[in-house]
Protein backbone atom coordinates (compact mmCIF):
# COMPACT_ATOMS: atom_id res chain seq x y z
CA UNK A 1 0.00 0.00 0.00
CA UNK A 2 2.71 2.41 0.97
CA UNK A 3 4.66 1.50 -2.16
CA UNK A 4 1.88 2.63 -4.48
CA UNK A 5 1.89 5.99 -2.76
CA UNK A 6 5.59 6.36 -3.29
CA UNK A 7 5.42 5.73 -7.01
CA UNK A 8 3.28 8.78 -7.76
CA UNK A 9 5.96 11.40 -7.51
CA UNK A 10 5.38 14.27 -9.91
CA UNK A 11 8.51 15.90 -11.26
CA UNK A 12 7.00 19.41 -11.19
CA UNK A 13 9.23 22.24 -10.01
CA UNK A 14 8.42 22.85 -6.35
CA UNK A 15 6.85 26.23 -5.54
CA UNK A 16 8.74 28.57 -3.27
CA UNK A 17 6.65 27.62 -0.23
CA UNK A 18 4.73 24.34 -0.41
CA UNK A 19 1.01 24.39 0.47
CA UNK A 20 1.72 22.12 3.42
CA UNK A 21 4.16 24.62 4.91
CA UNK A 22 1.68 27.42 4.24
CA UNK A 23 -1.08 25.50 6.03
CA UNK A 24 1.23 24.77 8.95
CA UNK A 25 2.14 28.43 9.29
CA UNK A 26 -1.54 29.35 9.04
CA UNK A 27 -2.54 26.86 11.76
CA UNK A 28 0.22 28.05 14.08
CA UNK A 29 -0.68 31.70 13.52
CA UNK A 30 -4.39 30.98 14.07
CA UNK A 31 -3.64 29.14 17.31
CA UNK A 32 -1.40 31.94 18.56
CA UNK A 33 -4.01 34.55 17.66
CA UNK A 34 -6.76 32.55 19.39
CA UNK A 35 -4.51 32.21 22.45
CA UNK A 36 -3.78 35.92 22.59
CA UNK A 37 -7.48 36.70 22.14
CA UNK A 38 -8.38 34.33 24.98
CA UNK A 39 -5.68 35.87 27.17
CA UNK A 40 -7.13 39.33 26.75
CA UNK A 41 -10.82 38.38 26.70
CA UNK A 42 -11.15 37.99 30.46
CA UNK A 43 -13.33 34.88 30.04
CA UNK A 44 -10.99 32.75 32.10
CA UNK A 45 -9.42 33.52 35.44
CA UNK A 46 -6.55 35.92 35.11
CA UNK A 47 -3.23 34.25 34.26
CA UNK A 48 -4.75 30.86 33.43
CA UNK A 49 -4.04 31.78 29.82
CA UNK A 50 -1.25 34.35 30.10
CA UNK A 51 -0.37 36.52 27.13
CA UNK A 52 2.25 35.30 24.69
CA UNK A 53 4.51 38.17 25.68
CA UNK A 54 4.62 37.10 29.31
CA UNK A 55 5.22 33.45 28.33
CA UNK A 56 8.05 34.56 26.04
CA UNK A 57 9.47 36.68 28.83
CA UNK A 58 9.28 33.75 31.27
CA UNK A 59 10.87 31.47 28.68
CA UNK A 60 13.81 33.83 28.19
CA UNK A 61 14.19 34.22 31.93
CA UNK A 62 14.08 30.46 32.40
CA UNK A 63 16.67 29.72 29.75
CA UNK A 64 19.04 32.33 31.17
CA UNK A 65 18.91 31.19 34.79
CA UNK A 66 21.74 28.92 35.91
CA UNK A 67 19.43 27.43 38.52
CA UNK A 68 17.23 25.91 35.82
CA UNK A 69 20.17 24.09 34.25
CA UNK A 70 21.08 22.64 37.62
CA UNK A 71 17.57 21.17 37.98
CA UNK A 72 17.63 20.05 34.36
CA UNK A 73 20.91 18.22 34.93
CA UNK A 74 19.48 16.49 38.01
CA UNK A 75 16.47 15.25 36.05
CA UNK A 76 18.59 14.29 33.03
CA UNK A 77 20.93 12.30 35.26
CA UNK A 78 17.98 10.52 36.89
CA UNK A 79 16.46 9.64 33.53
CA UNK A 80 19.84 8.55 32.18
CA UNK A 81 20.42 6.26 35.15
CA UNK A 82 16.88 4.86 34.92
CA UNK A 83 17.27 4.20 31.21
CA UNK A 84 20.63 2.49 31.59
CA UNK A 85 19.59 0.27 34.52
CA UNK A 86 16.11 -0.48 33.16
CA UNK A 87 17.42 -0.87 29.62
CA UNK A 88 20.19 -3.30 30.66
CA UNK A 89 17.76 -5.35 32.77
CA UNK A 90 15.16 -5.28 30.01
CA UNK A 91 17.71 -6.33 27.41
CA UNK A 92 18.91 -9.26 29.54
CA UNK A 93 15.42 -10.47 30.39
CA UNK A 94 14.26 -9.92 26.81
CA UNK A 95 17.13 -12.00 25.39
CA UNK A 96 16.47 -14.78 27.93
CA UNK A 97 12.76 -14.85 27.14
CA UNK A 98 13.32 -14.58 23.41
CA UNK A 99 15.89 -17.36 23.32
CA UNK A 100 14.00 -19.82 25.46
CA UNK A 101 10.47 -20.88 24.53
CA UNK A 102 9.83 -22.45 27.90
CA UNK A 103 10.77 -19.32 29.89
CA UNK A 104 8.76 -17.21 27.49
CA UNK A 105 5.65 -19.36 27.97
CA UNK A 106 6.12 -19.37 31.74
CA UNK A 107 6.81 -15.68 32.37
CA UNK A 108 6.21 -13.47 29.37
CA UNK A 109 2.46 -13.10 29.90
CA UNK A 110 3.17 -11.57 33.32
CA UNK A 111 5.39 -8.97 31.72
CA UNK A 112 2.88 -8.41 28.94
CA UNK A 113 0.07 -7.62 31.35
CA UNK A 114 2.18 -5.77 33.92
CA UNK A 115 3.72 -3.60 31.19
CA UNK A 116 0.88 -1.17 30.64
CA UNK A 117 -0.22 -0.81 34.28
CA UNK A 118 0.23 2.62 35.88
CA UNK A 119 3.72 2.64 37.43
CA UNK A 120 3.44 5.84 39.42
CA UNK A 121 1.34 4.05 42.04
CA UNK A 122 4.50 2.14 43.05
CA UNK A 123 6.03 5.44 44.15
CA UNK A 124 5.11 5.08 47.86
CA UNK A 125 6.91 1.71 47.89
CA UNK A 126 9.91 3.20 46.09
CA UNK A 127 10.11 5.96 48.70
CA UNK A 128 10.17 3.36 51.47
CA UNK A 129 12.82 1.29 49.73
CA UNK A 130 15.07 4.02 48.37
CA UNK A 131 14.31 7.16 50.36
CA UNK A 132 13.00 10.53 49.25
CA UNK A 133 16.10 11.49 47.24
CA UNK A 134 16.84 10.96 43.55
CA UNK A 135 17.18 7.20 44.09
CA UNK A 136 13.43 6.65 44.36
CA UNK A 137 12.89 8.61 41.12
CA UNK A 138 15.54 6.53 39.36
CA UNK A 139 13.86 3.38 40.68
CA UNK A 140 10.47 4.45 39.35
CA UNK A 141 11.99 5.36 35.97
CA UNK A 142 13.77 2.01 35.89
CA UNK A 143 10.57 0.16 36.66
CA UNK A 144 8.75 2.08 33.92
CA UNK A 145 11.29 1.50 31.17
CA UNK A 146 12.09 -2.14 31.97
CA UNK A 147 8.84 -3.49 30.50
CA UNK A 148 8.80 -1.96 26.99
CA UNK A 149 12.49 -2.82 26.49
CA UNK A 150 12.09 -6.43 27.69
CA UNK A 151 8.93 -7.05 25.63
CA UNK A 152 10.35 -5.47 22.48
CA UNK A 153 13.63 -7.36 22.75
CA UNK A 154 11.85 -10.68 23.39
CA UNK A 155 9.58 -10.14 20.37
CA UNK A 156 12.52 -8.97 18.24
CA UNK A 157 14.56 -11.99 19.22
CA UNK A 158 11.88 -14.35 17.91
CA UNK A 159 11.76 -12.52 14.60
CA UNK A 160 15.45 -12.98 13.83
CA UNK A 161 16.04 -14.69 10.51
CA UNK A 162 16.72 -18.37 11.26
CA UNK A 163 19.48 -18.34 8.61
CA UNK A 164 21.52 -15.87 10.64
CA UNK A 165 21.26 -18.07 13.71
CA UNK A 166 22.33 -21.10 11.67
CA UNK A 167 25.30 -19.14 10.32
CA UNK A 168 26.35 -18.42 13.90
CA UNK A 169 25.90 -22.04 14.89
CA UNK A 170 27.89 -23.31 11.92
CA UNK A 171 30.72 -21.02 12.97
CA UNK A 172 30.45 -22.67 16.37
CA UNK A 173 29.89 -19.37 18.11
CA UNK A 174 29.49 -19.66 21.88
CA UNK A 175 26.53 -18.07 23.69
CA UNK A 176 28.30 -14.76 24.27
CA UNK A 177 29.43 -14.55 20.64
CA UNK A 178 25.92 -15.44 19.49
CA UNK A 179 24.51 -12.55 21.55
CA UNK A 180 27.11 -10.01 20.48
CA UNK A 181 27.63 -11.01 16.84
CA UNK A 182 24.24 -12.36 15.80
CA UNK A 183 21.35 -11.46 18.11
CA UNK A 184 22.15 -7.85 18.97
CA UNK A 185 23.01 -6.69 15.41
CA UNK A 186 20.02 -8.58 13.96
CA UNK A 187 17.54 -6.97 16.31
CA UNK A 188 18.84 -3.43 16.47
CA UNK A 189 15.45 -2.23 15.24
CA UNK A 190 13.31 -3.70 18.04
CA UNK A 191 15.99 -2.74 20.56
CA UNK A 192 16.05 0.87 19.45
CA UNK A 193 12.27 0.93 19.34
CA UNK A 194 12.18 -0.51 22.86
CA UNK A 195 14.66 2.10 24.07
CA UNK A 196 12.61 4.83 22.41
CA UNK A 197 9.45 3.67 24.21
CA UNK A 198 11.44 3.09 27.40
CA UNK A 199 12.86 6.61 27.26
CA UNK A 200 9.34 8.03 26.96
CA UNK A 201 7.97 6.17 29.97
CA UNK A 202 11.15 6.62 32.05
CA UNK A 203 10.86 10.35 31.46
CA UNK A 204 7.22 10.38 32.51
CA UNK A 205 7.87 8.15 35.54
CA UNK A 206 10.82 10.18 36.79
CA UNK A 207 9.17 13.56 36.30
CA UNK A 208 5.85 12.53 37.82
CA UNK A 209 7.70 11.19 40.84
CA UNK A 210 9.48 14.53 41.10
CA UNK A 211 6.19 16.41 41.08
CA UNK A 212 4.91 14.19 43.89
CA UNK A 213 7.80 14.48 46.33
CA UNK A 214 11.22 16.01 45.77
CA UNK A 215 13.30 19.12 46.30
CA UNK A 216 15.13 19.26 42.99
CA UNK A 217 14.57 18.49 39.32
CA UNK A 218 12.25 19.78 36.60
CA UNK A 219 9.19 18.09 38.09
CA UNK A 220 9.83 19.91 41.35
CA UNK A 221 10.14 23.25 39.50
CA UNK A 222 6.85 22.65 37.69
CA UNK A 223 4.93 21.85 40.85
CA UNK A 224 6.60 24.79 42.59
CA UNK A 225 5.46 27.14 39.83
CA UNK A 226 1.97 25.67 40.26
CA UNK A 227 1.91 26.21 44.01
CA UNK A 228 2.95 29.87 43.75
CA UNK A 229 0.64 30.25 40.71
CA UNK A 230 3.39 31.49 38.40
CA UNK A 231 1.60 30.41 35.24
CA UNK A 232 3.89 31.98 32.60
CA UNK A 233 6.84 30.18 34.18
CA UNK A 234 4.92 26.91 34.21
CA UNK A 235 4.02 27.25 30.54
CA UNK A 236 7.63 28.10 29.72
CA UNK A 237 8.84 25.01 31.56
CA UNK A 238 6.30 22.76 29.87
CA UNK A 239 7.28 24.12 26.45
CA UNK A 240 10.98 23.47 27.06
CA UNK A 241 10.21 20.03 28.47
CA UNK A 242 8.08 19.05 25.47
CA UNK A 243 10.70 20.27 23.01
CA UNK A 244 13.39 18.29 24.85
CA UNK A 245 11.25 15.14 25.13
CA UNK A 246 10.12 15.16 21.49
CA UNK A 247 13.68 15.98 20.41
CA UNK A 248 15.19 13.13 22.44
CA UNK A 249 12.60 10.73 21.05
CA UNK A 250 13.27 11.81 17.47
CA UNK A 251 17.01 11.57 18.08
CA UNK A 252 16.79 7.96 19.27
CA UNK A 253 14.55 7.11 16.29
CA UNK A 254 16.85 8.92 13.87
CA UNK A 255 19.87 7.22 15.35
CA UNK A 256 18.22 3.88 14.67
CA UNK A 257 17.33 4.92 11.12
CA UNK A 258 20.75 6.30 10.26
CA UNK A 259 22.43 3.24 11.59
CA UNK A 260 20.27 1.20 9.29
CA UNK A 261 21.10 3.20 6.17
CA UNK A 262 24.82 2.88 6.81
CA UNK A 263 24.49 -0.87 7.05
CA UNK A 264 22.54 -1.11 3.82
Amino acid sequence: MAETGRLTRTPVAAPLVSPVTLLRIAIILALLAAWEFLAHSGWLYRDVVPSLMSIGHALAELLMSADYYFHLSVTAAEIGMALSIGGALGLTVGILLGANRFLSKAFESYLYYLGPTPKIIFFPIMIMWFGVGPESKIALGTLSCFFPVALNVAAGMRQIDKVLIRVGESFRANSWQMVVKIYLPAMRHPIINGIRLGLGVALIGTLLAETKLSNKGIGFLIIQAYSIFDMPRMYAMLIVLFVLAIGANALVGRFGGLHDIKRL
Binding site: S109, T117, I121
Partner: protein, 261 residues
Protein backbone atom coordinates in the same frame (compact mmCIF):
# COMPACT_ATOMS: atom_id res chain seq x y z
CA UNK B 1 -3.71 -23.33 10.24
CA UNK B 2 -3.48 -27.12 10.07
CA UNK B 3 -3.00 -27.32 13.82
CA UNK B 4 -6.33 -25.65 14.43
CA UNK B 5 -8.23 -27.76 11.91
CA UNK B 6 -7.26 -31.08 13.47
CA UNK B 7 -10.12 -31.17 15.94
CA UNK B 8 -9.04 -33.54 18.67
CA UNK B 9 -5.49 -32.60 19.56
CA UNK B 10 -5.24 -33.71 23.15
CA UNK B 11 -3.36 -31.25 25.32
CA UNK B 12 -0.18 -32.98 26.39
CA UNK B 13 1.08 -32.61 29.97
CA UNK B 14 3.95 -30.57 28.53
CA UNK B 15 1.52 -27.79 27.63
CA UNK B 16 0.67 -27.20 31.28
CA UNK B 17 4.24 -27.17 32.50
CA UNK B 18 5.23 -23.57 31.62
CA UNK B 19 2.23 -21.89 33.30
CA UNK B 20 2.65 -24.13 36.33
CA UNK B 21 6.32 -23.15 36.54
CA UNK B 22 5.31 -19.49 36.15
CA UNK B 23 2.77 -19.60 38.97
CA UNK B 24 5.01 -21.88 41.05
CA UNK B 25 7.95 -19.48 40.92
CA UNK B 26 5.67 -16.62 41.97
CA UNK B 27 4.50 -18.64 44.98
CA UNK B 28 8.07 -19.63 45.85
CA UNK B 29 9.15 -16.00 45.56
CA UNK B 30 6.46 -14.84 47.98
CA UNK B 31 7.22 -17.67 50.40
CA UNK B 32 10.89 -16.67 50.31
CA UNK B 33 10.03 -13.03 51.03
CA UNK B 34 7.80 -14.17 53.90
CA UNK B 35 10.60 -16.33 55.30
CA UNK B 36 13.20 -13.57 55.03
CA UNK B 37 10.89 -11.16 56.84
CA UNK B 38 10.04 -13.66 59.57
CA UNK B 39 13.77 -14.32 60.04
CA UNK B 40 14.38 -10.60 60.32
CA UNK B 41 16.64 -10.39 57.26
CA UNK B 42 14.22 -7.93 55.63
CA UNK B 43 12.76 -5.09 57.66
CA UNK B 44 9.02 -5.68 58.03
CA UNK B 45 8.44 -1.93 58.30
CA UNK B 46 9.70 -1.55 54.74
CA UNK B 47 8.34 -4.73 53.19
CA UNK B 48 5.31 -6.15 55.00
CA UNK B 49 5.01 -9.95 54.98
CA UNK B 50 2.94 -11.21 52.02
CA UNK B 51 0.60 -12.99 54.48
CA UNK B 52 -0.19 -9.66 56.13
CA UNK B 53 -0.80 -8.03 52.72
CA UNK B 54 -3.12 -10.88 51.79
CA UNK B 55 -4.92 -10.48 55.11
CA UNK B 56 -5.44 -6.76 54.64
CA UNK B 57 -7.13 -7.25 51.26
CA UNK B 58 -10.47 -7.85 52.97
CA UNK B 59 -10.01 -4.86 55.27
CA UNK B 60 -9.12 -2.54 52.38
CA UNK B 61 -12.08 -3.75 50.34
CA UNK B 62 -14.60 -3.40 53.16
CA UNK B 63 -13.37 -0.28 54.95
CA UNK B 64 -12.24 1.88 52.07
CA UNK B 65 -15.36 1.90 49.85
CA UNK B 66 -13.42 0.13 47.20
CA UNK B 67 -16.45 -0.60 45.03
CA UNK B 68 -17.41 3.03 44.91
CA UNK B 69 -13.83 4.06 44.13
CA UNK B 70 -13.61 1.44 41.43
CA UNK B 71 -16.85 2.67 39.87
CA UNK B 72 -15.63 6.27 39.99
CA UNK B 73 -12.36 5.40 38.24
CA UNK B 74 -14.24 3.26 35.73
CA UNK B 75 -16.71 6.09 35.00
CA UNK B 76 -13.85 8.55 34.51
CA UNK B 77 -12.15 6.08 32.22
CA UNK B 78 -15.26 5.38 30.16
CA UNK B 79 -16.12 9.08 29.87
CA UNK B 80 -12.61 9.72 28.59
CA UNK B 81 -13.08 6.68 26.32
CA UNK B 82 -16.28 8.04 24.76
CA UNK B 83 -14.62 11.42 24.19
CA UNK B 84 -11.57 9.69 22.74
CA UNK B 85 -13.67 7.68 20.31
CA UNK B 86 -15.73 10.66 19.18
CA UNK B 87 -12.92 13.19 18.83
CA UNK B 88 -10.09 10.82 17.96
CA UNK B 89 -11.94 8.95 15.23
CA UNK B 90 -13.52 12.05 13.73
CA UNK B 91 -10.14 13.80 13.89
CA UNK B 92 -8.54 10.90 12.04
CA UNK B 93 -11.33 10.80 9.43
CA UNK B 94 -11.06 14.54 8.91
CA UNK B 95 -7.32 14.32 8.43
CA UNK B 96 -7.71 11.47 5.97
CA UNK B 97 -10.40 13.37 4.06
CA UNK B 98 -8.30 16.52 3.69
CA UNK B 99 -4.90 15.28 2.58
CA UNK B 100 -3.27 18.68 3.02
CA UNK B 101 -4.34 18.74 6.65
CA UNK B 102 -2.94 15.25 7.14
CA UNK B 103 0.39 16.19 5.55
CA UNK B 104 0.57 19.27 7.73
CA UNK B 105 -0.49 17.78 11.05
CA UNK B 106 0.27 14.05 11.15
CA UNK B 107 3.87 14.61 12.30
CA UNK B 108 2.60 16.93 15.00
CA UNK B 109 0.18 14.32 16.28
CA UNK B 110 2.94 11.69 16.20
CA UNK B 111 5.21 14.09 18.12
CA UNK B 112 2.48 14.65 20.70
CA UNK B 113 2.23 10.87 21.11
CA UNK B 114 5.83 10.88 22.30
CA UNK B 115 5.49 13.97 24.51
CA UNK B 116 4.98 13.60 28.27
CA UNK B 117 1.49 15.12 28.12
CA UNK B 118 0.57 13.92 31.61
CA UNK B 119 3.13 16.40 32.99
CA UNK B 120 0.60 19.08 32.13
CA UNK B 121 -1.60 17.98 35.03
CA UNK B 122 -0.82 21.06 37.18
CA UNK B 123 -2.02 23.15 34.25
CA UNK B 124 -5.25 21.16 34.00
CA UNK B 125 -5.65 21.53 37.73
CA UNK B 126 -5.60 25.30 37.28
CA UNK B 127 -7.99 25.25 34.32
CA UNK B 128 -10.58 22.71 35.52
CA UNK B 129 -10.10 22.83 39.28
CA UNK B 130 -9.46 19.90 41.57
CA UNK B 131 -12.31 17.69 40.41
CA UNK B 132 -13.10 14.70 38.22
CA UNK B 133 -12.95 16.77 35.03
CA UNK B 134 -9.25 17.45 35.47
CA UNK B 135 -8.70 13.71 35.66
CA UNK B 136 -10.97 12.89 32.73
CA UNK B 137 -9.49 15.61 30.51
CA UNK B 138 -5.97 14.52 31.39
CA UNK B 139 -6.78 10.95 30.37
CA UNK B 140 -8.49 12.18 27.22
CA UNK B 141 -5.73 14.51 26.02
CA UNK B 142 -2.91 12.09 26.84
CA UNK B 143 -4.60 9.23 24.97
CA UNK B 144 -5.84 11.16 21.92
CA UNK B 145 -2.80 10.84 19.58
CA UNK B 146 -2.85 7.02 19.21
CA UNK B 147 -6.58 7.02 18.37
CA UNK B 148 -6.10 9.64 15.64
CA UNK B 149 -3.04 7.90 14.21
CA UNK B 150 -4.65 4.45 14.18
CA UNK B 151 -7.82 5.82 12.52
CA UNK B 152 -5.74 7.33 9.71
CA UNK B 153 -3.77 4.11 9.40
CA UNK B 154 -6.95 2.04 9.25
CA UNK B 155 -8.65 4.11 6.55
CA UNK B 156 -5.47 4.50 4.50
CA UNK B 157 -4.91 0.74 4.71
CA UNK B 158 -8.24 -0.21 3.12
CA UNK B 159 -7.58 -2.80 0.44
CA UNK B 160 -7.48 -1.41 -3.09
CA UNK B 161 -9.93 -4.11 -4.26
CA UNK B 162 -12.59 -2.89 -1.84
CA UNK B 163 -12.12 0.73 -2.89
CA UNK B 164 -12.42 -0.34 -6.55
CA UNK B 165 -15.62 -2.28 -5.83
CA UNK B 166 -17.08 0.91 -4.40
CA UNK B 167 -15.96 2.88 -7.45
CA UNK B 168 -17.48 0.36 -9.86
CA UNK B 169 -20.79 0.71 -8.03
CA UNK B 170 -20.50 4.44 -8.59
CA UNK B 171 -20.82 5.22 -4.90
CA UNK B 172 -20.87 8.83 -3.80
CA UNK B 173 -17.99 9.84 -1.50
CA UNK B 174 -20.32 9.60 1.53
CA UNK B 175 -21.49 6.12 0.54
CA UNK B 176 -17.91 5.13 -0.24
CA UNK B 177 -16.93 6.20 3.27
CA UNK B 178 -19.78 4.53 5.19
CA UNK B 179 -20.05 1.36 3.08
CA UNK B 180 -16.39 0.69 2.26
CA UNK B 181 -13.72 2.70 4.06
CA UNK B 182 -15.17 2.87 7.55
CA UNK B 183 -16.15 -0.82 7.92
CA UNK B 184 -12.79 -1.86 6.49
CA UNK B 185 -10.95 0.41 8.92
CA UNK B 186 -13.00 -0.59 11.97
CA UNK B 187 -10.65 -3.30 13.33
CA UNK B 188 -7.63 -0.95 13.16
CA UNK B 189 -9.69 1.87 14.65
CA UNK B 190 -10.59 -0.40 17.53
CA UNK B 191 -6.90 -1.13 18.10
CA UNK B 192 -6.50 2.64 18.43
CA UNK B 193 -9.44 2.94 20.83
CA UNK B 194 -8.06 0.05 22.89
CA UNK B 195 -4.65 1.72 23.10
CA UNK B 196 -6.39 4.98 23.94
CA UNK B 197 -8.37 3.40 26.76
CA UNK B 198 -5.23 1.79 28.20
CA UNK B 199 -3.40 5.14 28.09
CA UNK B 200 -6.45 6.82 29.61
CA UNK B 201 -6.58 4.30 32.48
CA UNK B 202 -2.85 4.69 33.21
CA UNK B 203 -3.09 8.46 33.23
CA UNK B 204 -6.34 8.60 35.16
CA UNK B 205 -5.10 6.36 37.97
CA UNK B 206 -1.77 8.22 37.95
CA UNK B 207 -3.36 11.66 38.19
CA UNK B 208 -5.78 10.44 40.90
CA UNK B 209 -2.74 9.37 42.88
CA UNK B 210 -0.84 12.58 42.23
CA UNK B 211 -3.58 15.09 43.00
CA UNK B 212 -5.04 12.91 45.77
CA UNK B 213 -8.56 13.01 44.41
CA UNK B 214 -11.12 10.49 43.23
CA UNK B 215 -10.98 6.74 42.97
CA UNK B 216 -8.41 3.98 43.13
CA UNK B 217 -5.31 6.17 42.70
CA UNK B 218 -6.27 8.27 45.69
CA UNK B 219 -6.76 5.17 47.82
CA UNK B 220 -3.08 4.26 47.44
CA UNK B 221 -1.99 7.78 48.29
CA UNK B 222 -4.21 7.85 51.36
CA UNK B 223 -3.08 4.50 52.71
CA UNK B 224 0.57 5.43 52.09
CA UNK B 225 0.13 8.73 53.94
CA UNK B 226 -1.43 6.86 56.86
CA UNK B 227 1.64 4.60 56.76
CA UNK B 228 -0.70 1.60 56.50
CA UNK B 229 2.00 -0.45 54.83
CA UNK B 230 0.17 -3.72 54.31
CA UNK B 231 -2.88 -1.78 53.13
CA UNK B 232 -0.79 0.20 50.62
CA UNK B 233 0.68 -2.98 49.16
CA UNK B 234 -2.76 -4.60 49.03
CA UNK B 235 -4.28 -1.54 47.31
CA UNK B 236 -1.45 -1.48 44.75
CA UNK B 237 -2.02 -5.18 44.02
CA UNK B 238 -5.73 -4.49 43.69
CA UNK B 239 -5.19 -1.64 41.20
CA UNK B 240 -2.77 -3.78 39.19
CA UNK B 241 -5.30 -6.63 39.11
CA UNK B 242 -8.08 -4.26 38.03
CA UNK B 243 -5.95 -2.82 35.22
CA UNK B 244 -4.95 -6.29 34.04
CA UNK B 245 -8.62 -7.30 34.00
CA UNK B 246 -9.41 -4.15 32.04
CA UNK B 247 -6.77 -5.00 29.38
CA UNK B 248 -8.04 -8.56 29.14
CA UNK B 249 -11.64 -7.45 28.58
CA UNK B 250 -10.48 -4.98 25.91
CA UNK B 251 -8.43 -7.68 24.21
CA UNK B 252 -11.40 -10.05 24.17
CA UNK B 253 -13.60 -7.31 22.73
CA UNK B 254 -11.04 -6.59 20.04
CA UNK B 255 -10.75 -10.24 19.05
CA UNK B 256 -14.53 -10.44 18.92
CA UNK B 257 -14.70 -7.40 16.63
CA UNK B 258 -11.88 -8.46 14.33
CA UNK B 259 -13.14 -10.57 11.44
CA UNK B 260 -11.37 -13.82 10.65
CA UNK B 261 -8.45 -13.01 8.37
Amino acid sequence: MSATTTPARRASPGDYLPPVVGIGSLVVFFLLVELLIQLGAVNRFIVPPPSEVLGSFGRVIVEEDILQRFLLTLTECLTAGVMLTVFGVSGGVLMHRFKLLQQACETWVAAMASAPIVLMYPLFLVIFGRNAWTIIMMGFVAALPPVILKTIEGIAGTRKVLVNVGRSFNLTPTQQFWKILFPAALPTIFVGVRLGLIFALINIVGVEFLINFGGLGQLINELAERYDLAGTYAAICFVILVSILFFMVLEKAERWLRPVD
